[in-house]
């Protein structure tokens, strides 16, 4: 591991200035992903600026919704009584991620910024455009079982690994950011980028910008919401596909739906076409499957030496149908 300096400043402003003035500086949160990457040689920063003691660890009521400090551990966010009753999809998404130990370490601000678990990205002996721009993509034509089917580019087919982020995207959360030029708010659905020809950039954050909190807006329909995750083992594994959904049904007809997909794209994938297809539709497996089809029109499964990932189309369709069916039953 390349040597690096460590700083634990007194406040977020000082932390932001420290990172902003050094191109090779990074923020340290829970460290669950960064420390592993330091060890693997995926990244080699010159300075780590520890923000774990600086950002808020409080969850507070704000305008009918909740403001979650960036320092709130994933475990405590999932355990919060208000989150469990008002946004069950978020509690379930958090609980389906990682392990008890990791959820105690991982933070609300750090979780969305974790990097892809693409095995080629994490293996420094293979080319990867995300790790080393211009070196090529080893995943395309390689093992693609865990890779994206939506929004890919010829440069990168990695997926975003976070479960929490999928729920946040469905809930229309807002990301509060402090940067060298002041504060700004970014809709959660616009935080993550698609790879395009710059897959090295996961998000729209500029160097030195720090997530200080995430706002969950008031959303009564989210009281009936669910997260369903399909993976290769029953626990402690990343999603092959996942669905975060909230459903508002009146007399057997869908009034409104909120849907996001995980495990299928470079970003948590807000499924607005599926939501549109469901508005006014009769509650039935057929209309739920039609909503999935509407969203997946542009899906491009990847061939691969491991059999590829075309299975994700059918798997995601069935997962969406099952999730919405459960929610409709809950409404009845």
């Amino acid at each position: 591991m390349r040597p690096f300096a460590y700083q634990a400043p007194d406040d977020t402003g000082a932390a932001v200035r420290s990172v902003a003035e050094r191109p090779d500086a990074v923020f340290l949160g829970g460290g669950t992903n960064l420390v592993d990457h330091l060890r693997l040689g995926v990244v080699s920063p010159g300075l780590l600026v520890d923000v774990t003691a600086l950002t808020s660890t409080e969850i507070t009521e704000v305008g009918g919704g909740l403001r979650v400090g960036a320092g709130v551990p994933n475990s405590e966010l999932a355990a919060d009584a208000r989150v469990r009753s008002r946004y069950p999809v978020l509690a379930q998404a958090l609980l389906s991620g990682a392990s008890g130990q990791l959820r105690n370490m991982a933070t609300t601000g750090g979780n969305p910024l974790q990097r892809t678990r693409c095995m080629y990205f994490q293996d420094v002996s293979t080319p990867c455009n995300k790790r080393e721009p211009g070196s090529g993509c080893s995943a395309i034509g390689g093992s693609t079982r865990n890779h994206a089917v939506l929004g890919t580019s010829e440069h990168c087919i990695a997926t975003h690994p976070s479960d929490m982020a999928v729920a946040m995207a469905a809930l229309d959360a807002q990301v509060l950011v402090l940067g060298p030029d002041g504060e700004r708010t970014i809709p959660f659905t616009e935080l993550h980028r698609l790879p395009g020809d710059t897959p090295e950039r996961d998000t729209v954050l500029e160097h030195g910008e720090l997530i200080t909190a995430i706002d969950l807006p008031e959303l009564p329909m989210a009281r009936r919401s669910r997260y369903r995750k399909v993976r290769d083992r029953a626990s402690y594994a990343f999603a092959l596909v996942s669905v975060a959904a909230a459903l508002d049904v009146d007399g057997g007809v869908v009034r409104e739906a909120r849907i996001a997909f995980g495990g299928v794209a470079h970003a948590p994938w807000r499924a607005r076409r599926a939501e549109e297809a469901l508005r006014g539709a009769t509650v039935s497996d057929e209309s739920f499957a039609a909503a999935a089809a509407a969203e997946l029109t542009d899906a491009r499964p990847q061939p691969g030496v491991d059999g590829g990932n075309e299975f994700k189309i059918a798997l995601l369709t069935r997962t969406l149908v099952a999730t919405l069916r459960d929610l409709a039953r809950e409404e009845a």
Partner: protein, 171 residues
């Protein structure tokens, strides 16, 4: 200069000059001779290095030691009070919850953390209604302990030991 770091480990205070690269796990084992946390994968995938920091279970391999300044670290060794084994220690022995024993200190710390989380009413991924208080059945124990791998496959005994310890501590 590296920052001065104060670590309190199993009730003993240590002042250390640390390389910022040193993990909490390597610091415990190599600098302080605290050998109960084990290095399995060193990547956060096996749970053998699990310790309690301020009472919460975490992975020592993914924690930088400099970032633990001022925190209270408890390993499986430090769970004993006045020389008496912790109820989770006793339950692991009673239920034969190990074979080679390499993962056991991590399992024990994880179980102590998991039982505390359950006592606080925290739900898990298998809790049917996350808004309600969960019941600690076998499926809940398996899910809550899924971050600790056992290559010997002593899971049946581990689940039984966690259930025993739960009955003991909630009595």
């Amino acid at each position: 200069m590296d920052p001065d770091t104060t670590l309190r480990v199993d009730g003993v205070t240590h002042h250390l000059d640390l390389d910022p690269r040193a993990s909490l796990l390597d610091t415990l084992r190599q600098r302080l001779g605290v050998m109960s946390p084990k290095k399995g994968c060193d990547h956060g995938q096996c749970g053998a290095c699990t310790v309690l920091v301020d009472g919460r279970r975490v992975l020592a391999c993914l924690s930088l030691a400099v970032a633990q300044d001022g925190h209270e670290i408890t390993t499986a060794d430090g769970l004993s009070e006045d020389g008496a084994d912790h109820p989770v220690h006793r339950a692991f022995v009673e239920e034969d919850a190990l074979q080679c024993g390499y993962c056991t200190p991590g399992q024990v710390c994880s179980a102590v953390g998991a039982l505390d989380e359950f006592a606080r009413g925290w739900p898990s991924a298998v809790t049917t209604d996350v808004a309600a208080d969960p019941e600690l059945d076998d499926a809940e124990i398996a899910e809550r302990m899924s971050g600790n791998l056992c290559r010997c496959g002593a899971y049946k005994g581990i689940r039984a030991a966690v259930a025993d310890a739960h009955r003991e501590v909630s009595r």
